[in-house]
Symmetry: C2
Subunit: 327 residues, 2 copies
Amino acid sequence: MALELDIIARHFQQPGLAGDPLKHRHIRLGIGDDCALLNVPRGKQLALSMDVLVEGVHFPADAPPALLAQRALAVNLSDLAAMGADPFCFTLGLTMPAADEAWLSGFSAGLKESAERYACPLVGGNLARGPLQVAIQVQGLLPKGDALLRSQARPGHDVWVSGETGRAGLALEWLQGKCPDISTEQEEELLAAYYRPEPRLALGQELRDVASAAQDVSDGLLIDLSRLAQQSRVKITVEIAAMPLAGILTSLRDSSDVFRLAMTAGDDYELVFTAASSKRRAVQAAARKAGVTVSRIGTVSAGEGVDVLDLSGRPLAFEAAGFEHFR
Amino acid sequence: MALELDIIARHFQQPGLAGDPLKHRHIRLGIGDDCALLNVPRGKQLALSMDVLVEGVHFPADAPPALLAQRALAVNLSDLAAMGADPFCFTLGLTMPAADEAWLSGFSAGLKESAERYACPLVGGNLARGPLQVAIQVQGLLPKGDALLRSQARPGHDVWVSGETGRAGLALEWLQGKCPDISTEQEEELLAAYYRPEPRLALGQELRDVASAAQDVSDGLLIDLSRLAQQSRVKITVEIAAMPLAGILTSLRDSSDVFRLAMTAGDDYELVFTAASSKRRAVQAAARKAGVTVSRIGTVSAGEGVDVLDLSGRPLAFEAAGFEHFR
């Protein structure tokens, strides 16, 4: 059986995945010593975020390893996007029951593709025996003082969301067998939504001087908005009529189900953000530059919590606001 | 049952553990947003290291939570020590089967004690349901270009080790019931060696201008030395007669067992390092300043691999060089 260092050398120290010293000149030392060493350029701040994905909790037991790798990196990059940061590098803490060479090849190939695509190489980490879990920490760079925080929404600001939400939630229900009889094309769309979410990095960067507050939609729009409202000490009102709805949701589910998925399902990794109403043109321009659609879905006012208004302006209630561990 | 954010607020955002904005002025944003934000001071490099501890693999199922927390942070700080870095801050990815308030109180109290002791606050991370695992990433700071690497040992240099090795290995055998009839005092010494290893941070920092190469003893002196030899492309010869032996080892085990433990048992988190022979006084002075004993145990020469010579100068063989996952 292969030993740790052999596995690391064969699967994780490969060019592309572990970066190229010429292309990544601020990474002074990558995989293989006690620590990685980074030079943070002058005038920049370092942004850090760690997410752990657990088999059976965050992904199905038979998840394709390449897609799992890409999903694990994407959910971390999405946190950088929500601060407006540029990807710098990442570390990986992988535990697995046994050294399965085929699985490792698939996993590292998927990881390499994403590392190259986002110019975010692997610089270190840890490999150990244990239940299958993928811990990733991303490091990002930001011009000092430019980070998009959750605490800066103010009464009078608009609330925006990128893309459409609920697609990954529908994908999860489909993976759980709750969505039979769909076309191959629809299957592909759902698989991609679940395993290959697109971190909205370009949008986050374009919004640095435009948005007031931002966060990503990881546990569900409603619960994530309630966190933003709490940290900004404001109230947020969302009009369900303004919500962007994915075609696949409206074609497969009836309207109450569509709203439930769009408002409370997690894993879409879209950005939800606020901006002064004087910035509407700037928001649209930023979105165009980033190649992403954005929708104005509500407003910020004094108060606390999140209200969702139905098509006739009455408050809508949902059974759960989103995904919570330890409920 | 408590929800994630409540658990984080109650157990992990407490003063001391999560740091103090006045004391840690380079930490611009800690727990609670999408990312933590750090300012890296001019002239400094950032050192990163991540370790994952798995229940049943890296610690017993009934490990006391406060000690487990301290051990998890210590093994990461030891990697900073091996580079000569100063602790900056850490992130935590904790997965656990259920939100056990008593366990969480113990865990966060232990973590807080260590965070304050090493001036290394918690700045972010992730809490999720899953098998019990503790992933920690430490961030450290180093004057640019001053890191102690594994690749700089040269023929003619001496090989040194701090403290004594094998104590944590004996502790593990005792925890596994292989070491009956020991005194309460001996029990305490072994428990401390296993759960509260002392990362050799001061020694690492003092050695920055003195040692040529360094690494910490995490998997066993022999296997860790072989990694250092491999990365420096040199041969290392250790004389067993020069090895510092802990009193508790020699009083409880016979000599072949003592040598096996001292050479191949992991988890002591001492530093093993090389230095030019002209630096012997400087090494001793660095050790005195750090309040740690060091022993000169061998030499570096041209070639590859690690030889251990017995009391009469003949090569000694060991069944295993140290701990390996996926053997």
